[in-house]
Symmetry: C2
Subunit: 256 residues, 2 copies
DNA sequence: ACCTGAACACCGTTCAAGT
DNA sequence: ACCTGAACACCGTTCAAGT
């Protein structure tokens, strides 16, 4: 019933690896490792060096500063040289972001159940993104199939499959959890109620709304103005994991 | 114990409405409605017209085509004229996105409980974003405090507070739900496994991984390659709502 | 075979000069 | 008081010309 594990079906046409494939697509990630890594001549400029420089540019000067010009300047080469290692800025960003995601590797504490481990990893992931807001602002989903993202996916799959979910549901759970973590960072970048000035202004804003149209917002303005991304994250994370637990109990040992 | 409903505290300093406020912040949204709407002279070009043109540009030619030049051309004015109504492109995007969010208004079917209504609204919201991918790609969180977003927030607050959550938890729940819906659209834009070519390539990609490093990914490649954003969304949505329900049961009638 | 300078076709934004 | 043309300082990307 099961296919042989590591062999691709002989009849499957390979992905068209032409330059038309979109960065981030499965075909693109596949095609990229089939290139012969051409060691024609010792290269002075390498993709690794470009990605390193991109990362420091991103961390020190923000996402807006990650331009081909700034990159070339930092590396002491011309812009055109960059296009020898990367077809696009899009490609660069896709590679860079996946690379910057190599952290979920830190092992969670032993002795906790799957939910505890998932919560721990999610918090670690979020903390990492908060420390690197430039990376967070570049996350687009195109990194989903990169090596580091796949490793994270494998880890989460292990957690959820081990807990009793079918592979299909485990994958959906893992991916919805990742979506939530990333979203809760991205959509609060630089505009969080944890900033006391922002919180104060939100109170003013809520209070001054039309109380007949937005009664709850007006009535609870003081409380609502202080609900920030930390609360959003913790409440959502707990709810998701609780929901997964209920789903597991419902499923029993069902196959899917 | 409770503050008077519509009156802002007299001692609260007003937001500094100077041009330094960042688009999307509470201070910015506040300052923007305090401007006298200057009817000095009948204006030929209005903000409304700019936003209308932006929206059609976005829907017909995509987010990349939403430039000040294209906008000016579509409106038959110069680029400089646009800056008379909008300080920034950022400002334009913030206003545009909130405006494009005026849909959660469609009333969910009667006779269902809070969770049914929340699920219905979330699916409606997602469907709207899928129909307008340009809008989805511009969502950044800066629209969070705009009039349409606040209306959506009020609606969700009503649902969750009515179900028994404290205002604080209700706000966190509402906002984490919104984050999830938006994220599940944004991070799958144009790269979904529901595309059969993409799904086929994902199968090839998963199968060809190192089976000792990524055993689950390799073993369940066929199933995993077909898990797309629809599955992610439905599983995550159900889990979130289930989690909220459990939270409500735990809280009982507690205040927060 | 490799790298470069210089250009091309765009951006967002500003401002002196017009009416 | 309002609007404009034209510029400024940037982008990503390409390519003929060098070595």
């Amino acid at each position: 019933m099961r296919e042989p594990m590591t062999t691709a079906g002989a009849g499957d046409p390979p992905p068209e690896s032409g330059p038309g494939t979109r960065p981030g697509s499965a075909a693109w990630w596949l095609a990229r490792e089939q290139e012969p890594a051409r060691p024609r001549r010792r290269r002075s400029l390498t993709l690794e060096a470009i990605l390193d420089a991109s990362m420091t540019l991103l961390d020190t000067r923000g996402a807006a500063a990650l331009t081909m010009r700034n990159l070339a300047e930092a590396l002491g080469c011309t812009q055109a040289s960059l296009y020898r290692h990367v077809r696009n800025r899009d490609e660069l960003v896709t590679l860079l972001v996946d690379r910057a995601l190599g952290v979920a590797s830190a092992a969670p504490p032993e002795g906790t159940d799957w939910a505890g481990k998932a919560a721990w990893s999610a918090r670690l992931f979020r903390a990492h993104l908060l420390r690197h807001p430039g990376v967070a602002s570049l996350l687009r989903g195109t990194e989903r199939l990169g090596p580091n993202s796949l490793a994270g996916m494998e880890y989460a799959l292990g957690l959820f499959v081990g807990a009793g979910l079918s592979p299909r549901l485990a994958a959906a759970a893992a991916s919805s959890l990742a979506t939530f973590v990333i979203g809760s960072v991205r959509f609060n970048l630089g505009l969080d109620a944890s900033d006391s000035e922002e919180s104060r202004h939100r109170r003013l804003l809520y209070r001054s709304r039309d109380a007949t149209a937005l009664p709850l917002l007006v009535r609870h303005a003081d409380v609502l103005a202080e609900v920030g991304s930390d609360d959003e994250f913790e409440v959502g994370l707990t709810a998701l994991l609780t929901g997964f637990r209920v789903l597991i109990e419902q499923e029993g040992g069902a196959r899917d």
